[in-house]
Symmetry: D4
Subunit: 208 residues, 8 copies
């Protein structure tokens, strides 16, 4: 049913040895496996037991594919406000891809230059679900939510300083979005946004 | 495209006169109209200009239907932890119904008595999207999210006291859900949850 | 130098008697006088000693004019995201007018419907300073700040509920604006925004 | 009366020299001694004056036993939501053991996979007191509290990120538990939970 | 097993009609029933269907007894810092009594006059469990925790003003108690403290 | 129109390579370029592609000038409370200068020694706009705002410790300023203050 | 030793009956008695048992004098930033007087008009201890603390709105005072400030 | 008048070179000079220009004496709850000594073992002013404040973890002290407490 959807290891706070052991164990069942928040060193250790493992550097994800993933047709768009939000966006985009979704990336279209967003509406309109990744004032989620009639999954990032309070400003802004259709995941939780977007996207596939 | 989906008035902070005027104006376009956070007095004034208006008391919603709503086949389940969460849940459920979705209600199945939830899994499994409404420790969203492989829209409520800090405890708990597929809307925002759930549900309808 | 700029009484937390006494005392010096956060009852008492006093109801301001105000030529635009923000916006607009500035109002152009804002850019472009009044996610300040190359004074409002935390969400969003040229005053402080905008506007007047 | 219950040194914020000196001083009275939050380096220095000292690595505890501890018969169960909570759980478990209590560990039974918890209810039911250790949304305390009619001591952990705010989400969730019989200690305070659980457990011993 | 322990209705946020209906329903099973946070009006309505109902005014609890409660021998002491903490303390004390526990009250022995506490140590020493109820700086829990080697259940109250932040100061103080054996329940949660204390007390009864 | 105003790179959170690439790209358009929050290492790399680049060490700004900047006549005063506030003040001052404004610096005139401020009022009075940079209690903004009838842009800094909470104390103080004409930017945002001050200053230039 | 210093009842949260009973009991010992946060109704009831009782309306204090108070010679100055701070200041001033201290009041000398403060330095310099009462940005405590070499007891008030957060802004500002000699009491705690100031003042009396 | 009271440099956030330069400059005026929050490296550099400089290691203070300090007769007691609070206490104690006050230290008498405090009341009673230094629940300030009729200056420390929130728990507890005569300085501000205590102590000296 969840054919090919990888099992996931959250590597932060685990030792390299622990990650390798969990990977080894999961691979035995024949499933695909991925690790988030994994550094290069962890990846190299994983490679020793899984030579085909791939590392997605900006996303900080490693993945081992053992079986084909069921492909969705609907597109997930991943949109960021700034360039500093890209690591979180890549965590979302790569996760979505590993779960079988085609992904369109649209980066650095924050509200301080709204025309760049408006000029790229086609990318957003081609998608079935939109992940909006933004730090600082987090306004992009509301603007996108107002422009489209589709589910928007908003990811606040901890990008910013001072009264940003480690992502609180973007989090509160997104929770208070005046636009319909916006729901929110934890600060910097690109993975969680992709998980939600994938579940939504699957609903649109014929035959499900 | 959005055939029959009502235009919505957020009545809180508006005078009765303002609500009536906005209603009158919206009705002219032939659309359906609904008002959230509306008290009985407001409803009675609206009835003077729209005799067919209906009032959903626990939901605090009034609605005027002028055209048929496009019906979805997928079910939206609305689940609450306690009985005090019902007003928020009803705001979600009635909104979802007015948007054309069949709704299954499952109330008072909070985690302090997990067996009541487990005994009612059929209701939850019959749905395409699940709205979980919970205050206090907000744990229900994680438990439901862990039991199903479907989008869960979590609504923290302000029910509780003391270290609940007006819904903050449930909000933070839901944002930190360790279960996949949970996204969150604002505290007490039953309407917003229904809006998101409706958009998701539509994706599963044949022909869209 | 500050010819005609009224002396100001902040009425909140003062008894009607206190307000009347302060007004009487200020009028003696021949200056104009205004009171903010004044209810109708206070106004009626003020009228007894100053029959020409005017009351601006949505702004909750009363004013007594004894001398001509020096008029500025530059326009101050007052822009709101929603209709619930209007009382704060009116506090700003009426204050700006009483200080001698022509004011253009542009209300209910929030980011959930960005096209309404874009269609009204002429109003904003005609102004020398722009006051942006917004609650909830406060995104409008960033969008306006990105569209114009002029000083934007942002006023967060306490409009909203739940994770809005009495205006905190809009306040933090505005302080974290990624657009240049945005500075911020206290939550609901329409008067303060007008004061700043007036000082800025005067700088553009010939001969100062 | 407290026969064999060790004296405790909280090593965090103390220099190695200070810890060694306090240990030496405490050992003179013939009591058992333990140190919490002790790193390996500290342990090695302690070993120089107390060659029989033991180090419990995941718990970060060292202990020197000089006299027999009075043994309790009632079991203390230590339950965690995730694997990242194990260090805090081990601080609790090892402390409980050093205080003379038999301990049952049940790790990684968080609410996202509620069936794993339900399948292991025997472990929980065999205990007289249950320590629940959980980070993120901290929901496990409520679920366990609802399943058993025994005292549950809840330890929020700082495991998580973003809106977890260093353990605040789990702390608030546990304080707002809708299940009866749950009381809470400080974030990451495994030691404190064991201390409370030990005092409770002793009450159930015959002859006390 | 829980012979005579009443079923509990949390009345806050419920209408009188709802409380009466739940009471009627619960009484049918032959159990004892109690309601917390019940005002006098609610009690009078309950009396109509249960003439033997009793009202404990300072505790704001009503109770209907239908069967004998199993009596514990161990004493629960309820201690308060000030007189303003008494309503919360009475909620705890009356609940503990209705659950079958003998209760010793020791009120107004806050740390600003430590000698009053020290003079009354006998009351505290006679108990098996101690509930400490304190607002403001909440210091009493630590002092009592340091004086006795028994479980202390601490209830922060919202008594105070300013930097008390509705009980936050006492809550944080109690969570950070430097004394062993102190665990904490929610702000103003006298009921929850009694529930915990009752479970602990039962463990000390012979034959359980 | 914005002749000579440099394009700006916010270097924090960008790799040196990214900064160099963005600089190279921006320089192609013939514009001036500056980078804020740039360390010395970044500057040296930038120098390799732009040998005329300058580094302003206390401001942590690098700048490459390719065309003449339009000069303003009005002075921007930059005032600090303490010496620890100087880095933020220099970010403001150097930005203002690179944008074409003459700058007067007045450092270390905090309110604990109010006479030093009063003795230097001439500097403040010579300016058209005043940037006030202060940490700890942030009181200087109100004092300066009360002494002059000109726009004051207040920058809270994160200087301080304890109940300063990383700049929160100064931020809240400045937002609550009882003096007219004070608006606020983010904590430590010297660049943002200069941007606002520059826009205001330009309004006072003849012919604009 | 504390000859004539009244015993004190904190009336907030007590019923009128409770206040009267405590007063009656205290009067029996021959001491003076005072009640803070007392409304007029409470005073009238107290008068029935103590006809000589006096009520200080703006201070909300009632007092019954039975014996002469020992008089201090040193003056306590009570200084406020605004007129809205006067009730808190009066609580401090009247308490100080009832404790036997001569009091000089200097009201409405906030930092937005620093010259009014400077013109009144004689009042401040005549005092041995200074109580500074201020809300909003609380800057006055630092300014006064910098001007004099005497103990300053700072009382933050809850006067303000928005980002004032019920006195938090003034509280944090005062705790972060860069001026030496400033210590702080709770928000709105005029009584506590007078208590501290009285203890300090007594030290300066000859013969103590 | 302030004969011998050293000028003070707050070294945190200053470079060694800056501290040496300020020291050199201050020494020229013949005054005594001290630096707080100074590390050993800074001290060694200061020694090069002031060979008689002394370093107080646990206090992290260096001092250069050039003239005799006026000695007070009244004693300042410095009391701590735990051993981890000693660095802050030493900052207070050494500062008080350098300002000319005899100091009595009473360390590690926290409320978890109240008898140790009671056994040492003589030390506290011998003093004219008492500085109480405590982290975690900060209860010691209230207990001491209740035991003596003298000014208590409370210093919250950041000692603790979890719900301590870097000193917030102790700070709030101390601000809410139910004991009379307690005023509070910033978290970890030993210097500030000594400054206040010194000013108070001087008032008790004959002839001042
Ligand atoms: N890991 C821990 N967390 C919280 N409290 C602890 C911990 N370990 C020891 N303690 C407490 O700290 C006390 C020792 O503190 P100290 O005198 O500073 O070493 C012990 O008696 C325990 O009550
Ligand atoms: N005062 C109270 N504070 C917290 N929880 C309570 C209180 N009174 C009752 N409860 C809990 O609330 C449950 C009943 O909730 P309800 O079903 O909403 O009436 C009881 O089983 C208790 O666990
Ligand atoms: N120090 C600073 N603080 C805040 N914003 C800045 C700062 N420096 C540059 N910016 C803003 O950041 C924008 C560039 O962001 P980026 O595209 O990420 O380099 C500029 O246009 C400025 O508006
Ligand atoms: N440890 C400290 N904490 C708080 N304030 C201090 C401390 N040490 C010195 N100060 C204050 O800081 C002032 C010197 O600051 P600065 O001019 O930055 O060196 C002194 O006059 C003191 O009032
Ligand atoms: Mg939308
Ligand atoms: Mg799921
Ligand atoms: Mg702009
Ligand atoms: Mg239970
Ligand atoms: Mg104890
Ligand atoms: Mg001004
Ligand atoms: Mg001073
Ligand atoms: Mg005292």
């Amino acid at each position: 049913l969840r054919r090919g959807v990888p099992e996931v290891i959250y590597c932060q706070g685990k030792t390299t040895t622990q990650v390798v052991e969990i990977t080894r164990h999961m691979l035995k069942s024949g499933n695909n496996v991925m690790g988030t928040r994994a550094d290069l060193k962890t990846f190299h250790e994983v490679q020793l037991i899984a030579p085909d493992a791939k590392y997605y550097e900006p996303a900080r994800i490693f993945a081992v594919q053992q079986e084909e993933v069921l492909k969705n047709e609907g597109i997930i768009a991943v949109v960021t406000a700034g360039t500093s939000d890209i690591p979180v966006a890549e965590e979302a985009a790569v996760t979505a891809e590993l779960f079988g979704n085609p992904v369109e990336r649209l980066y650095d279209v924050g509200v301080a230059g709204i025309h760049r967003l408006l000029m790229n509406m086609k990318v957003i309109q081609s998608a079935r679900v939109i992940i909006v990744v933004a730090g600082m004032e987090g306004a992009l989620a509301s603007v996108v939510g107002g422009l489209v009639d589709k589910p928007v999954v908003a990811v606040p990032t901890s990008i910013g300083y001072g009264a940003n309070f480690h992502g609180l400003s973007a989090l509160l802004a997104m929770l208070n979005s005046c636009a319909g259709g916006v729901s929110v995941v934890n600060i910097d939780n690109g993975f969680g946004a992709a998980y939600v977007a994938h579940q939504i996207n699957r609903l649109g596939e014929k035959g499900e």
